[in-house]
Symmetry: C2
């Protein structure tokens, strides 16, 4: 069911500083920042040879990463996103196995304009899992 | 400087249960468990199309992931490993930029038999970074 790792997301308190770290200290290619108000984040992509790292900074008052940064003020690894071919089939299979899908269980349009779902971290060894249909 | 994402490591309290989750619930290909006493972990590889996830369970009394699991009993994302061509060059560049290399700063032989170094998570937005020379 799982395809490629689409991205690994890292929440950061300061995107300008994090961009400098990844670009200048680690020598990676880093995209321009994109504000995604409908997702409550500003995002930068660290473009690696086989996948990407997304650096996420909270945007607005109801950012979905605000609570995580309150607990982890320096930032930290926030979630991992796997690609799937059929997100509704994946969802139904996961629900049948007892895994919890976050929200109302209906795919939303993610930061890349594709359908996404998030799975409860308690069902996946403390790791927030995103599925993205590609 | 950064090449491919070699792996994303997830610490888990119970490798048998985590293997079942990734193989049966998420439908991924999962390797046999390997005991690595010199690294203080038993490891399973979740083999994805473009990279891999390493599931790590503590092995022995001085496991390097014991403290992490004491803080995160359900498990969680532990580190991200990037490939580099020249680990000594990377280390020197990182040290010159002020980043802290863990341990004595000399590469060790990692779980894949290749030279590795770990970088201080406080210098990388709360993310433990491993570099592996490939």
């Amino acid at each position: 069911m799982l395809g490629r790792v689409n991205h690994i997301a890292i929440a950061v308190p300061d995107l300008v500083s994090a961009t400098t770290t990844y670009r200048d200290t680690l020598g990676a290619r880093v995209s321009q920042a994109q504000r995604l108000p409908e997702h409550g984040v500003t995002v930068v992509f660290v473009e690696l040879a086989n996948t990407k790292v997304e650096l996420l900074e909270p945007l607005g008052e109801d950012s979905p990463i605000a609570a995580f940064l309150a607990k982890n003020p320096s930032g930290g690894m926030h979630h991992i996103c796997y690609e799937v071919d059929d997100i509704l089939g994946a969802r139904d299979r996961l629900k049948a196995s007892g895994a919890r899908v976050l929200g109302d269980g209906e795919p939303k349009t993610g930061a890349h304009g594709k359908p996404v779902l998030f799975l409860h971290p308690k069902d996946f060894n403390g790791t927030l899992v995103e599925l993205e249909q590609v």
